[in-house]
Structures are given as C-alpha cells and as structure tokens.
Amino acid sequence: MISNHSRRSWLICTGVMLLLAVMALSGCTSNKTSNSSGKDENASAQQTATGKKLVMAYTWKPSGVDPHGDNSWDVMRSGAGETLVRLNEKLEPVAWLAKEWKQDSPTVWTFSLQDKVTFHNGKSMDAASVKASLLRSIEKSHLAKDLLNVKSIDVSGPLALKITTNQPNAALVSNLADPSTTVLDVASMKDEQSYPAMTGAFKIKAFNKDQSLIVERYDGYWGEKARLAEATMKFITDGNSRLMALQSGEVDVATDIPVDNAEVLKKNDKLQVLSAPSLRTHMLVYNMESPVFKDAANRKVVDSLIPRTSIVSAVMRGFGTEASSPFPSILPFGKVERKALDGTADQLLTKDGWQKDAQGTWTKQGKPFEVTLLTFPQRPELSVMAEVIQSQLLKEGIQVKIRKVENIDEALTKNDWDFAMYSMLTAHTGEPQYFMDMFYSSQSEANVSRYSSKPLESILNSLKLAKDTAQRNAVTLQALDIINTDLPQSFIVHPDNVFGVKKGVEGFTPHPIEYYYITAQSDIAE
C-alpha cells in the first residue's frame, strides 16, 4: 500500500531523472552541423566517394577564421590563405601572389601580381583588392602594422601595387610572408553568413568553434590543384590526447608532439615522426640590473658552464640543436660561433675578485655567488633545463635558487630575479630586423634583459637601410658579434618542431617557418 504522497514524490523524482536523461540524449542524436551549437561535422580520416580526406590533430584553438585577427597563423596553416610572398625551405622570400617585385627607393617598392587568381567567392584578385586587403590587415593587426610600417599603398596598374613605407624597411618583402597579411576579398568579410574568401588551394567549408576547421579543395585555384578533397584541423590542445588520437587512427597527422612521446611513435610501425628545425630559441635572459649579472664576466662564466650538449640529448631527446646566437644556423645570418672564454671559468672569477670558501662556493666580499633563476610552467622543457643548469652551476660553486612563476613576462618586469628561462620565435619571417628591434631596443618593453647598447642600436638602424641580402646578413652578423660579446642572454637550444604522421601521408613536409602545414601537395595514400 503506497500513500498518495509517496506516489507524488516518486513521480517528481522520476520526472527529474527522465528530464536529465532526455537532456543527455538530445544532444547525441543529431548530426547537424552548426557553428553555434558546436556540433562538429563528421570528418573521418578515410577516403570517401567524394575524394581523399586528411585529419590533423592541431595544437591551437583559434577563436575565429579572420586571417587579419589573432588567428592568422591557423588560417594560413589550413591551406586557405596566401600572402604576396612565400618563404622557401632556405627561408628566402619567393613569389606567391606577387609574381615579382623591385625596390624603387629605400622606402618605395613595386609589386607585380599574379594574374588569373580568384578569391574563393569567384571574384578576380587585382591590385585594388590586394590594396584593400593590406589596408585591412594593417588596421586589424598590430603585428602587420609594425612589420610593414606602411605610409601608403597605391594601385599603379590592374596588377601592380606600389607600397611606400614610413622609414626604410628592407625587410618588407620577407615581412609580407607573415600570415597577418593574408590576402582576402574584403567584401566577403561583411557577409556574416559566409567565410572569408581568400585565394588558397583550399577554401573554408566549416569552422566549429573549439572543435575544428574544415577546408575543402577550391577548384578555381590559380596554381596546382589540391590533391586532397578535404582537410580537417581538429583542435586538441592536450599533447597526450593528440598522441592518442593519432595512435587510435582518428587523425592522420598530429602537430607539436611532446619530445618525450616521440619514442612511443617511433616504435609504432604505422606511424612516423617528422621534424624540422624551428626558428625558436630557448635562452637564459640575464637581468642587466642584477648585482651579480651587471658584471659581464659573471654572465660569461655562467654561459660557458651551460651544458648545451647534454640539454639537447637528454632534455630535447635530440630534437633540437645547440644555440650560439638568437638565430638558428639554418638562417644565413645564424651561422655564428660562440665566443670562447679568455681562460677557464675559475681563472675568470678569481680575476674578478671571487674566492672559493671551504664549502667550494664562490664568494666576493663575504657574499656567496647566489642567484635566482626564474622559470615558468607553460614550456615544461624549460623547467627541466633550469634544473640541469642549476645542477651544473652548483658543481662549479655557484648557487642557484629556482623560482617558478605563473607569468614570466610579468615577473620579468620586477627586480627580484637575476636570470630567467625564456623562449622566443626570433625570425618568424626569416628576417632578423623585427626581433632585434623589439628585443634589443633600450626603449622596448620586450627588452626583458634591460640591455642597452648604443653601438648595437646604431647597427640595427643601418640594417633598415641595407638593401641586398649579402649586405643585410653582414650587418646582422656585426650585431650578433656585439650581442655575443656583451651576452645579455645565453642562447641554449633551438628546438625542432615535431610531428607524428601516419604512414601513407604524403606531401607533409615540416617547414622551419611554422606557417605551412596543409598545402596543395598534401596527400594521403588510398
């Protein structure tokens, strides 16, 4: 015998449970794609009747597909976007949407554009549309504005464009390879129902926020048509999840494989590990206002004690090269030798007034050689490097306190540190100018070492005027000579970009420049 109250209670409880069950099931029965709902289109790594498809597990999660916003790299990597200039494997600027170019004066450049190029909405690309696109990129992107430093852009013919810069900017051509200058039909950005119309071998088919970017072959492409019918970039920010998605066969390519996991992939006969030297540099930045490191001799001693070879083999598992300047040796101006110490570390320290106490610690005027090293969690390998360096310096009588901070850039604005682990992309357009201006100008907020050198700034000013490549490389090497003499930073390692790739994937060649992932040549075996 059950009371009415009991029945009512049970009805309410059962109703709530049913409601939750319906909520759970309601989202699972639909395959409808919609940007707002977040439902992903079904994109499996299989060949279908419509052609071959490739799925990539991608590290980042773009918030949109406007190539002139913060997501320019992601759009470029999808194969949908193109710039006037492309960088080849040697990191030299080569023709892309611009057929050729010439410098009329230190501040004026003329570009001839490719003909028969159409945007993804079928409109033809001409000088006027490229001008509108470049102006929009300068308006929307701080980086594009800084890189191009444009005074005016003029249409000098149907397919001819004249760009005038505010100051001499010899790096302009290389900087036009930056994804923030991707060429698009500006009118297509006004239609909220469509995706940006660019010029790449692929056009955007669907963007599912937080989930994926799907591109499909653009049949009206002006160059060699894409071999794939479709490519999907799935946004998987967790490294282990990317690895498992690759191992389970759900994706064909996985980007940014943690070096610790590369061995696991090498043992899998269905997968391969591909890598390319990157233009990134892991370094130690010295605080030039630190009581210990304002003395160049102490910086040089620490620099000489960094076990770079061990770091490359043990920490980077061989996926990296020892660094001797901000720039890797794949760049013509990166072939630099580190400066040898004038004597041993002990001799240099003794000469500088340091003495070893009974415990084997260097002391000066009663104070031990004790320094604070900052590191941060976002790049775990840097924290491991910090411990290796700490251990090595301790052996030599230098005591290092490691302090992990959540936000390294914020921590570097304070004064309670002596040196810090840091990582920068130093030549993201294959050019040294932008990085050096930002990192070594005494007025720049990005000059985290607070390093000031009038001779260096003078050389950097002359770099802006240096026209031909040989001259620019020579001037850059002069600048690097000053940097390696003063040592505001110790350059440790240039890490590789590591990819996991399913065997059968073709035309996926890791590139030192991190812009080109999916291309017209990307293919997958049937």
Partner: protein, 309 residues
C-alpha cells in the same frame, strides 16, 4: 512558494555580487597583462606602440576603481562585455558552449545516478555479499583514481587498443560515452557507498520494524520505507555534483577535446580574458543556485517536513 522564490532570488543577487566582485579583484591582482598575452601569442615580441594601443582599446589603462565601476554598470544593465580574444559578446560565447556542457553533464549525471542507485541498493541487499564487495572495490578505485588518469586509461583501452570508441571531439553519441564514464564513474561509485551506509543505518529504525510487523514484503520495505529516507542526503550529493558538472569539467573537457564551458573558462584565465572570466563566474553562480533550487524542490516533494524548516 512565492516567498521561497523571492528568498532565492535575493540570495542569488547577493552571491553574484560578492563572487563576481571577488573575481574582479583577484583577476586584477593576478600577474599577467592581457595585452602582452594577446600580442605575443606565438612568442613573437610586440612593439611598445602596439601594446599601448591595445591596452587603451581594452580599457586597461583606466584606474582600477573606474574599471570596477564600468564593469558593475555593465553587469547590472545586462551587458556582460566583449571577449578580448574573439571580440564577440561574452554572453553569446557562453550560450554557444552551454549545450555541450549540459550534454556532457547530463550524460555524466546519468552514469553517476545509475551507479549510485544500482551499486548502492545492490550492496545493501546482502552485506558482505559479492555485490557489496564489488561496490567497495569500485568505491576505492573511484575515490583514488584521478579523473585525468581514468580518462586516459579509457581512451587507451577503448580507442587505441580496441578501436571501439572515438577518443575526442563531439560528433555523435559515441563521442559521449568515454567522457561521460570518466565524469560519472568515480563519483557514482563513491556515492553508492554513502547510499549503502544510509540504508544500513535506517534498517534498525522503529518505522522499519513497524513496517515488518505489518507484514510488508522485504522489497517494499527496502524501496518504499528505507530508500525513501536514505535517498535525501544522496539527492543533495547528486545536486552538488550536477552543479559541478554543469559549471564545466575542465579536466574531462580538456582530455576529450570537449567544447564546453570548463575548458573555455580555463583558456580565458590563461589569456587573461577578463570579461569572459567575470561573465563565466556569474553564469556558473546562476547554474549552481538553479540546481540547488531544483534539489530543494525534489527534497521537499519527498519529505514535506522540510517545508516547515
């Protein structure tokens, strides 16, 4: 009922104000400049001019108290600001991600409820029986295995080794299985032990003896006398866990690349996307208070004496 609703609304407003103000203050005290983070996303340095311009655009150059007053005005006029990252309305961004979170929370809740009731009731039928021992083992595992580890184990077994289920994303129902299991299994196993303990404790009460004396069957006594009383604290626990799931489960969403609120919130913290962080906190408070109200209603329906309190 009207008084009950008015009380809840007043409580909600106070909680929203206190929590979001606290969030506002803490976020401003936390190290990290949104402009620097946004402009150096790929470790390419940013110019002084770019940083200054962006700080002005985002209103970060205003004094702290002005930022606070502006934000307070926006909240009470229903405008929750614009995301620094996507440049879209915070409210729209949150609504877009809510279905995914609700879907996962509901599925996880279903797993948790089935395990709680199934294992809890089965274990209490025969103390130290096989089901009771199994329940104990599950509870031990559920309370000791972290969810990220369980998630990876499930992916390794069902995706990598067996290839039965997808390891990530949100496409069809199969994508929901592993994250829902990860989310609900541990909690369900632990709650099953709580239910079992409640059932055993109530088994000696006078009202149970009276029901036995009246000749009711064992099953009737178990379900309509003991369980009815034992389930009250379980409903509170279920409600608390549902709130936690609805607010977005960061770990599970990250492992399975599930496009929900939790992962979005963590990304917003990493990028110092202040409007999103503050918007999310208000959103989460509404969700949590809403679920607690639902729990109150269900509990009152089961035990009318609670109305008098």
């Amino acid at each position: 009922m009207i008084r009950f609703i008015l009380e809840r609304v007043a409580q909600l407003l106070i909680i929203v104000f206190v929590v979001s103000t606290l969030t506002f203050v803490l976020m401003r005290l936390a190290p990290g400049d949104p402009a620097t983070i946004l402009l150096t996303a790929h470790n390419v340095p940013a110019s002084e001019e770019a940083l200054t311009t962006l700080r002005q655009e985002l209103g970060l150059n205003e004094p702290f108290h002005i930022q606070y007053v502006n934000w307070l005005r926006d909240v009470f006029t229903g405008h929750w600001g614009t995301s620094y990252v996507s440049k879209e309305s915070v409210l729209a961004e949150l609504w877009n991600r809510l279905p995914a979170t609700v879907e996962l929370a509901a599925a996880g809740f279903a797993v948790m409820t089935v395990l709680t009731l199934g294992l809890g009731l089965a274990a209490s039928l025969k103390i130290s029986g096989p089901l009771d021992r199994l329940g104990r083992l599950f509870a031990l595992l559920g309370s000791s295995i972290p969810s990220f580890w369980l998630g990876f184990l499930l992916i390794y077994l069902f995706s990598v080794r067996l290839g039965w289920l997808p390891s990530m994303g949100r496409e069809d129902w199969t994508h929901l299985v592993l994250p829902a299991l990860t989310l609900g299994a541990g909690l369900g196993a632990v709650q099953a032990r709580v239910l079992r303990a409640q059932m055993l404790e109530l088994g000696d009460r006078n009202f149970v003896k009276a029901a036995k004396a009246r000749g009711f069957s064992r099953m009737h006594i178990l379900f309509f006398e003991i369980f009815k009383h034992a389930v009250l604290p379980i409903i509170t626990l279920l409600g608390t866990n549902l709130s936690f799931m609805l607010a977005g489960n960061v770990i599970v969403e990250t492992i399975f690349s599930w496009p929900g609120l939790g992962k979005y919130f963590i990304d917003a913290i990493t990028q110092r996307d202040y409007p999103v962080i503050q918007g999310y906190v208000i959103f989460a408070v509404f969700l949590i208070v809403g679920v607690q109200c639902l729990v109150d209603v269900v509990q009152t329906a089961i035990d009318p004496r609670l109305r008098l309190r």
